[in-house]
């Protein structure tokens, strides 16, 4: 788990560096955009002096060039859609339904075959249904954590960067939270509260947001005192408008990347928490639950399918998010926009 966190942090540090460089190069373009808000009527004249370069279009173009990432993105979207469609397909079992044969005994450990696509587990539940349901739960956790972290992180980060009085307090809070190993917080929270999806999301968000906030704050410190912002302030633009219109657009790609990396990290954390016995109850299938149940059977070759299938899905989701996230951050780098 430590591993994943450090990946994420280093990634961000790296990104921050490249953002700074990027920003220097973008200033011209940005000034142009900002000044256009100030109701200059000679727009036509201004525009003719520049190429019709659009940052977002170029980013998209650069991203589309990365075939692997695009293919993965398409597959990931399909997978996501399928997890939602799957329960409504015909002949699907309920993931928690224990299926009995004609004699009333459970279909125990039936290997993958015609009746059960991916086989059944040791009490006769359909693994196919459980895996999809589990994927749904895990993705839900991942997305929720990512979104919650983004929302809290952005709000606090923008305030932190812009309101100087808050800087001292928040910096101290950051120093403290950053120094407590995440493992401890995850374990303590999962332990004190009852295991549930909500608890897990809460435990993971509890510290994650501050990283995001710190990140946003640093970006804002860099951009805040650029000339066009000083100009905006001088022209009497309200702070809230400066934040939303002048600052946030620069952060979108950073935020997207962070969210893309948070999702697999959260799913990985769920597996870890389940492993140490503080995870979700079994009637809420999740990838962590399935992998943990499967691990116990690894010594029997005939039963190993119960471990392999959930692992494949988990690995696919993780790889996809990492590669897409990285491809996107590369594409967001103007050096790659030719």
């Amino acid at each position: 788990m430590m591993k994943q966190f450090s990946y994420r942090h280093t990634k961000e540090a790296d990104l921050m560096k490249s953002m700074e460089e990027t920003l220097d190069k973008q200033v011209n373009m940005s000034d142009e955009e900002k000044f256009s808000f100030a109701e200059f009527n000679e727009k036509e004249v201004e525009r003719s002096g520049y190429s019709n370069y659009s940052y977002w279009r170029s980013t998209l173009q650069a991203f589309l060039k990365n075939r692997v990432a695009v293919a993965l993105l398409v597959m990931l979207v399909l997978l996501l859609l399928f997890t939602f469609i799957q329960p409504y397909l015909p002949n699907q079992y309920d993931p928690n339904l224990i299926i009995n044969d004609e004699n009333g005994m459970q279909y125990r450990n039936v290997p993958p075959g015609d009746q059960f696509i991916l086989g059944t587990n040791s009490i006769g539940q359909d693994l196919w249904a459980r895996i999809w349901s589990g994927t749904r739960t895990s993705l839900f956790i991942g997305l929720s954590v990512a979104i919650a972290e983004a929302l809290i992180g952005i709000t606090v980060g923008v305030l932190w960067g812009y309101v100087r009085k808050l800087d001292f307090i928040l910096t101290e809070i950051y120093n403290i939270i950053d120094n407590i190993p995440n493992t401890i917080i995850l374990i303590l929270i999962s332990y004190i509260l009852k295991p549930s999806v909500k608890t897990l999301i809460f435990a993971m968000c509890l510290t994650g947001w501050i990283q995001m906030a710190r990140f946003i704050r640093n970006q804002i410190l860099i951009i805040r005192d650029r000339d066009y912002n000083v100009a905006s302030r001088c022209l009497g633009t309200p702070t809230s408008k400066i934040m939303v219109k002048n600052l946030l657009p620069y952060l979108v790609s950073v935020i997207m990347l962070r969210m893309a990396l948070t999702i697999p990290a959260a799913i990985g954390n769920e597996v870890f928490i389940t492993y140490i016995g503080l995870g979700l109850p079994v009637d809420t299938p999740s990838l962590g639950n399935l992998i943990n149940e499967g691990r116990a059977l690894i010594t029997s070759a005939a039963l190993r399918y119960q471990l392999v299938y959930p692992t494949i899905i988990l690995s696919f989701v993780t790889i996809s998010f990492y590669i897409i996230g990285n491809a996107f951050s590369d594409a967001a780098d103007p050096k790659n926009h030719v």
Binding site: N109, S122, I123, P195, V282, R295, L297, T299, S300, A302
Partner: protein, 631 residues
């Protein structure tokens, strides 16, 4: 710049020093390899660590293993469950059976290297008892002595309250230890004086509370007694040569023990592995350990596979632990599960009977025991083969409990349901009734059992009638947080016998009436609440309590006593206050020991002893197991 160089040097030094530190530190430990191949070494994995070796204070089975194998008791059980002599060679009691006199044999205390340090004397039993009755040492077993050994409770509480009063207003004066009913008459003569006539006293001597400990050492170490292998002495079949927590425990045969000729395993190595359930079976396949549990999940595969089919046998069936479903009469769970609604429903006898008749026990037990679940089903709370009356008749075949059949009855369940629905609707109960069924996630397969029960009962009784809600409780302190705090509606509970008498099976349910209301007891079903709240169930509960009182009063005539307890238990089950369920399913195991050679008693620590067992060359197969059983 100079500063930087200085810091760089500092950093290097720090790293070098810490690397050097890691270099040493482990040189001292050896693993006990290189034993001569002729000695029998038994290896096993364990995943739950003992926090102490102090057998005088612990009540958990894991922690009593050390005591069981390293400390001899006054009496022992043989492999057939017959009482025989242990440290005591003969014993007698007075006419009132209140004063018991034991003659001790010559025995030695040895330390953790097997070297003799002292003789075992009667005083060691007295000192051990005094240690337990000292509140400072927090012995978990003092309750077993209260009301049994004369003045034990008085002495203990005297030290706690020092002449003051407890919550119930009873005052406890400090008394001298000499008034407590245990005496060393001479070096080899020990007497216990009982507070009242206790029919099961002799059988309870195999429990840790009556074990001796070397007095001067207790005195010297106090709280530290038993915290490490060199912080206790041994007089039993084995001594503990190494106790490295979360690493390994190594027991070696004590050649100075009086019964060393009957100890056939020379060394026992318990190796810690928190993934024992996963790794253990694989290690058995490779022959690296001599014992592992094979979970029901793996079982089918093992039995169908030629290489492994002959490695599996079973543990000896245990009839000292009983599972039953409790209805909670004092619901304290969250509003969202509608405790008030449950309170009304549970006090309706037809409702309880519907649930009782609607529970297909065979199906649930099949989760743990797929092949012959019906062997483990109980029709009574008291397990079969547990206690016999003076004529040798099993308790479950006596009197009122003899006629109880399996509670599961699909037809009747639906009839009860219809009746209950009609009656309860009139009382304003909303349907479906939410039935909160928590489980402990750390108990293997309990989660799966709950899922099976939910589906089976909801299918039979209909989701218009009940809505079973499965909820994972906390992994630790599950009992305190869930059962004792009344945070369940309908839950599988268990109880282990404390002594060889049917009375032990009334302990979870019976609540004594005190001046300030009913004693909370062990907080199982909170039956007395029905009486204090004056609900429809009050009469049934009162009947049960009265019958238990009556049965307890019969102390001499065993047959009458058993019959009276049978009558009480029948009330409990017929009014569906409790639903009997099963005995412990004896797990499938791979072992090189013959489980039927081991000492056997349904209670106490006999089952934990390795004495008398032979280490075989191969794992016991199912056929061998059956053959051994027949012997």
């Amino acid at each position: 710049m100079r500063n930087k160089k200085f810091i760089a040097m500092m950093l290097c030094t720090v790293m070098a020093v810490s690397t050097a530190l890691t270099g040493c530190g482990n040189s001292g430990k050896t693993t006990g390899d290189g034993e001569s191949s002729s000695s029998a070494v038994y290896r096993e994995l364990y995943s739950s660590e003992s926090s102490t070796l102090n057998y005088l204070v612990t009540s958990t089975i894991v922690e009593q293993v050390a005591g069981a194998n390293c400390i001899d008791t006054l009496v022992e059980y043989d492999s057939d469950g017959q009482l025989k002599e242990g440290l005591a060679t003969e014993w007698s009691y007075d006419e009132a059976t209140l004063t018991w006199t034991f003659k001790l044999r010559e025995a030695k205390w040895v330390d953790n290297t097997g070297k003799e340090v002292a003789d075992v004397t009667a005083q060691d039993f007295v000192d051990a008892l005094k240690y337990q009755l000292t509140p400072e040492y927090e012995s978990a077993n003092v309750q077993n002595l209260f009301g049994v050994i004369a003045n034990a409770e008085e002495y203990y509480n005297g030290q706690v309250y020092k002449g003051g009063a407890d919550e119930d207003g009873t005052t406890w004066k400090e008394i001298d230890f000499s008034e407590v009913g245990v005496k060393a008459v001479d070096e080899h003569t020990l007497t216990y004086t009982l507070a009242k006539e206790v029919p099961y006293f002799i059988s309870s001597l195999v429990y840790v509370v009556y074990m001796p400990a070397y007095g001067p050492q207790l005195e010297e170490l106090g709280k530290e007694f038993g915290t490490a292998a060199d912080k206790m002495y041994y007089n039993g079949a084995y001594y503990l040569a190494e106790f490295a927590p979360q690493e390994r425990h190594v027991y070696k045969k004590n050649t100075l023990n009086y019964d060393a000729a009957n100890v056939f395993i020379d060394e026992i190595q318990n190796i810690y592995n928190s993934e024992a359930a996963t790794i253990g079976p694989e290690m058995v396949k490779r022959g690296e350990i001599d014992y592992a549990e094979i979970s029901a999940d793996l079982l089918d595969d093992w039995l169908s596979n030629q290489d492994t089919a002959n490695l599996v046998s079973r543990a000896r069936p245990s009839t000292s632990y009983s599972y039953f479903y409790c209805f909670n009469f004092d619901p304290q769970f969250d509003e969202e599960y509608e405790p008030d609604n449950w309170r009304k429903a549970v006090n309706n006898e037809n409702f309880r009977k519907a649930l009782s008749a609607g529970l297909d026990k065979t199906k649930e037990v099949a989760v743990l025991e797929p092949s012959t679940p019906e062997d483990y089903i109980l029709t009574t709370v008291t397990p079969f083969d547990f206690a016999y009356n003076a004529d040798g008749k099993d308790f479950t075949t006596i009197g009122a409990v003899a006629d109880l059949g399996d509670t599961f009855d699909e037809v009747k369940a639906v009839e009860y349901k219809d009746a209950a629905m009609q009656e309860l609707k009139a009382e304003g109960v909303t349907f479906p009734v939410k039935v909160l069924m928590p489980y402990n996630p750390s108990t293997v397969n309990w989660d799966k059992e709950c899922q099976v029960v939910e589906q089976q009962m909801e299918a039979l009784l209909g989701t218009d009638f009940i809505d079973i809600i499965i909820e994972a409780g906390p992994t630790d302190n599950f009992l305190t947080e869930v059962r004792r705090s009344g945070k369940y509606a309908f839950m599988k509970c268990g109880w282990g016998a404390d002594y060889a008498d049917p009375e032990t099976w009334t302990d979870p349910f019976y609540q004594a009436a005190g001046e300030s209301g009913y004693d909370a007891g062990y907080k199982y079903a909170f039956l007395a609440n029905a009486i204090t709240e004056g609900t429809a169930t009050a009469a049934a509960v009162q009947e049960y309590f009265d019958k238990v009182d009556a049965a307890k009063a019969i102390t001499v005539d065993t047959n009458a006593r058993f019959e009276a307890f049978a009558e009480a238990e029948a009330v409990l089950i017929e009014h569906a206050l409790v639903v009997p369920f099963s005995i412990t399913v004896s797990p499938y195991i791979a072992t090189k020991l013959d489980v039927f050679e081991a000492q056997y008693a349904p209670f106490g620590v006999s089952k934990l002893r390795f004495k008398g067992q032979h280490l075989q060359d191969t794992y016991v197969s199912m056929d061998q197991y059956e053959a051994n059983k027949a012997k």
